[in-house]
Amino acid sequence: MTGRQIMTADEIRRATIRISHEIVEKQAGTAGLALVGIQRRGVPLARRIAESIAENEGVDVPVGALDITFYRDDLSLVAQQPVVKGTDLPFDLNGSTIVLVDDVLYTGRTIRAAMDALVDFGRPQAIRLAVLVDRGHRELPIRADHVGKNVPTSREEVVRVHLEEIDGEEGVLIDRATESVAPATPVG
């Protein structure tokens, strides 16, 4: 891992547990609640939040995975199509409260795409947003309901979330952008 560490494994764990408590508190229970992780790192985060809810409430909240590739607003701008990672929403969205889970909230464009994708699957009663890191610089009127950590950044910086399930290590890092790390998927 390179860059300056802004969250350790322990901090990620505590933030995830706190978010799980906030979600249940806001919903006043777990009835009608479902978590949807945005591919890729939102998916393991959603599973962790669900595990924490199961521990504290004794209820298994359904978890889904959402790929927003087909809903991106920059598909005609990118040089090559991004790899599609797959969507799996094994529950009825109609009338449910969906908590979207992602690793980093940045421009808000990913969340806009995710909401467009979700409503093609049904009509949730509400859609909420939980993120591990909010780094600011929104380009759309979108805010998170649950935030692990607010991190002031400049646009020249890159925030990288590493999760055991995908990266084999834990931690959130901040780094100066270089040519080679220009993101292929919209960060945020």
Binding site: F70, L75, A79, V83, D88, D120
Partner: protein
């Protein structure tokens, strides 16, 4: 009868890991004219993207905005139902705008050349062009002129790349472990006139299958020589006129349509004779493995190359081929749309 021996060493099929995280896909083809220029990694990427499209097709609203604002023009100089409709449905599922041109009712009947027609549809806004033409090579000519992407929907006897890819996808989804390595796959019937057979030869041999071409000698002309030449280049397949030899122990049988419209005089004594000697009947299918799959690219001449009870039987994947065809074409349109126009 000629049998080209397969080398003892199995063809090495590279295993490609799922594409790397957050990297753009390594797809560098502006056109899809045939499968012969696709690397194994390209084919794996098409298969992977097709999986995602199948998931889209299973949604309550089977439509995504990935190709919103794109113009896909479908220009067919030959009759077609499934390929044309399949492309149209695929493009619409991706929210593209679709323009359909049937040559029979267009200015082509007034003598407009292919190149002029391509220029015209481009001036009218076409960004992706799906073309079917009775002349082998016509899509290549169109690709020289057209500024966007050309997809070959079948040209003469030459190539039908989307059919080959959907056949490969269908077989992979049915064979244990998704592997065709060592599987005996028979392509049966009018191989001579078949673009489906020619394109399938590339993909099936690349996947490591044990491919057998079977039919009357008049409809295999040229393939024995190709089998000998191809073996040198690593494309290995068998050619036989014996249907019993071909079907024995087969894992899948692809029956081909007898192409009456392309049939020169003297190649077949009669359709009845053909059906009697090479028709895929239940009795003949019993020579294959009990769980062998039956495929047909369509349209079928039932009772000629395939018996109706075989086509509709439990071993038949024919409807699945049609369903997968939409997903494969969505995947290809999506991948091609990512490549910059000229």
């Amino acid at each position: 009868m000629t049998v080209i021996d397969r080398a003892d060493t199995a063809i090495e099929v590279p295993i490609v890991d799922s594409p790397p995280d957050e990297q753009p896909v390594a797809w560098n083809h502006r056109h899809l004219l045939d499968v012969d220029v696709l690397s194994w990694a390209d084919i794996e990427l098409v298969m992977h993207t097709t999986d995602a499209m199948r998931e889209v097709l299973a949604r309550p609203i089977a439509k995504v905005p990935a190709l919103r604002g794109r113009n896909v023009t479908i220009l067919f100089y030959e009759a077609s139902t499934r390929t044309r409709v399949s492309f149209e449905v695929a493009a619409k599922n991706l929210s593209a705008d679709v323009v359909n041109i049937a040559a029979a009712t267009s200015s082509v009947t007034k003598g407009e050349s292919l190149i002029d027609t391509v220029r015209t549809v481009e001036a009218l806004g076409a960004q992706m062009l799906v073309i079917r033409h009775p002349a082998s090579g016509a899509p290549y000519l169109a690709a020289e002129t057209f500024g966007g992407s050309v997809l070959n929907g079948g040209d003469g006897w030459h190539a039908h790349p989307t059919q080959a890819l959907l056949d490969l996808y269908t077989l992979r989804s049915r064979f244990a472990g998704g592997s065709l390595t060592g599987r005996k796959i028979v392509i049966l019937g009018d191989v001579l006139h078949s673009r489906v057979a020619r394109s399938n030869l590339w993909t099936l041999t690349a996947a490591g299958a044990d491919v057998w071409l079977c039919g009357p000698a008049t409809l295999l002309r040229g393939f024995e020589a190709w089998a000998i030449r191809g073996a040198a280049a690593g494309v290995r397949f068998h050619v036989t006129t014996s249907i019993a030899e071909a079907l024995r122990g087969a894992d899948a049988v692809m029956a081909l349509r007898i192409q009456k419209e392309r049939m020169a005089a003297g190649l077949l004594p009669s359709l009845r004779e053909y059906a009697a000697r090479y028709g895929l009947t239940r009795e003949r299918l019993a020579l294959a493995r009990p769980e062998a799959f039956v495929m047909h690219p369509g349209p079928m001449n039932e009772g000629v190359e395939i018996a109706p009870d075989v086509a509709a039987g439990s071993q038949s994947l024919i409807e699945e081929q049609v369903r997968n065809g939409v997903a494969v074409r969505m995947a290809l349109l999506y991948l091609l749309a990512g490549v910059r126009p000229r």
